[in-house]
Amino acid sequence: MEEMEDKNVLLTGLGKQLVLNSLTDASVQKATEETPDFAILPWVNVVKIGGQSIMDRGRSAVYPLVKEIVDNLPRHKMILGTGAGTRARHIYSLAIDLGLPTGVLTVLGTAVAWQNAQMLHYLLAQYGIPFVEPEGFSTLPHYLLERGAVVCQGMPPYKLWEPNPVAGRIPPQRTDTGCFLIAEVFGARKMIYVKDEDGLYAADPKKHPSSEYIPRISVEELLTRDLEDLIVERAVLEFLARARNIREIQFVNGLKPGQLTAALEGEPVGTVIYRNGDAE
């Protein structure tokens, strides 16, 4: 390495630090944090369509939502990611019973989110909306500018490389997380989750109808409250707390017409979970 030092005129100060020091060195890590952030697609909205909450309900839930998406195409560009849902729960239980590891469950669950994305795509195909695999994401800017939206499956493409959860066997990073990471990497305008609840409650409102409704909360407070159940995967909250681009995520009820539109227009509908210090 010594003889490289003189030739390092091609490298910036940070470049020299990165080449010559350990990447786990605290001063190197600090230096990377001080670099500027660039938003790749600052006008795009990532919209996650729930698997169990929306897709599994079929026509009665999906058709009105598709209409609302189409109505918004002239005004808002959208990456539409899908959740998995009931079939994922079935195959997770079967695979756990067969002794298969978390990484295999991720491969299996990804297929379910993919099926939902395909179905959503068929309903939007006549408007020129394509279905894009993770490998095709480099073409997103073109489709978004030409057609206004794309459909993708929400699972992150971790395949067998999904890390184990802290407890149990269910993949900890599923479709909520995959969509969040798309929004973060592109520096998206909004991350909106379309589910079948009005937002976040202190307990699952399907089981506890009188539970407290939370319209707005910081991610730090929500993590501290350590609720038994949540409207979103825990990994999303951890990533939001340390995100550099995304400042808040919003949850709307896709069974109520107009909620997605209101969220796209920037209205405080549903629940907003925000990063502390960034919102009022």
Binding site: T32, I96, R244
Partner: protein, 257 residues
């Protein structure tokens, strides 16, 4: 079926025994900066040792990225690119290194497998071929996690190689570096640093060492292991170390769950 998969009580009920998919396979990780960047003098003796062990031990080899990734990190950060973009770029550097290793081992029957082929074809390839080389960096690409500190992708080739060992339930996971194992400080700058022959992952996390010879995230992954419950770090510049590690001898540093 209507249960929430986020509910802690539902998650707790998914604890059940896991079986090993490929219990006789050894995962060998070849460091990018520590081995590959040194070229012939470091790599060729190591590959000879791998070939010498081929008849006795089944091996799949994950390869790291090294100095080219350090360079593109610096350019990418300067341009303002996010962590996920850096992860996608860096994975090409380790793919290049893995491809070179596979070329050098091709005549001994090793194949190069991209991530989709690891998912679909690894068992078949191992039945037909005599070993496999894969890209050590996991296929997270734009979906790479936000790091706790820095903007650098937390899952490099150490994490990716470990996760392959964990998901297949490998016999062993061995990391080949250019130091004898784990030290309390960087032995390259502090020759007096204490050598740690054996430790638990959580102990190492708790010690908050300034630098580590492996990615810190591997220690977190080890605390959650179901199958690959230990890893071994060895010095690949010393002939015989890999053979000893494959034979289960105490060499380098053993990190246990």
């Amino acid at each position: 079926m209507r249960e929430s998969l986020v509910d802690k009580n539902v998650i707790a009920r998914t604890e059940a025994p896991v079986s090993s998919i490929l219990p006789d396979v050894n995962v060998i990780q070849i460091g990018g900066h520590s081995i590959m960047d040194r070229g012939r003098s470091a790599l060729l003796p190591l590959l000879e040792e791998i070939v010498a062990n081929q008849a006795k031990h089944r091996m799949i080899i994950g390869v790291g990225a090294g100095v080219r990734s350090r360079h593109i990190f610096s350019v990418g950060l300067d341009l303002g690119l996010p962590t996920g973009a850096l992860a996608a770029l860096s994975a090409k550097d380790s793919a290049q290194n893995a491809y070179m290793v596979s070329c050098l081992l091709a005549k001994h029957g090793f194949v190069y497998l991209e991530a989709p082929f690891v998912v679909q074809l690894l068992p078949a390839m191992l039945a037909a071929a005599r070993g496999a080389v894969f890209n050590g960096i996991p296929p997270y690409s734009r979906w790479e996690h936000q790091p706790l500190k820095s903007k650098l992708p937390p899952h490099g080739s150490d994490a990716g190689s470990y996760l392959v060992g964990e998901v297949f339930g490998a016999r062993s996971v061995i990391f080949i570096k250019d130091v004898d194992g784990l030290y309390a400080a960087d032995p390259k700058t502090d020759p007096e640093a204490e050598f740690i022959q054996q430790a638990r992952a959580q102990e190492i996390i708790d010690r908050k060492l300034r630098t580590l010879p492996i990615e810190p995230v591997v220690l977190d992954l080890l605390t959650r292991a179901k199958l690959a419950r230990s890893i071994r770090l060895i010095n690949g510049l010393r002939p015989g170390n890999l053979t000893r590690a494959l034979n289960g001898e105490s060499v380098g540093t053993l990190i246990q769950q």
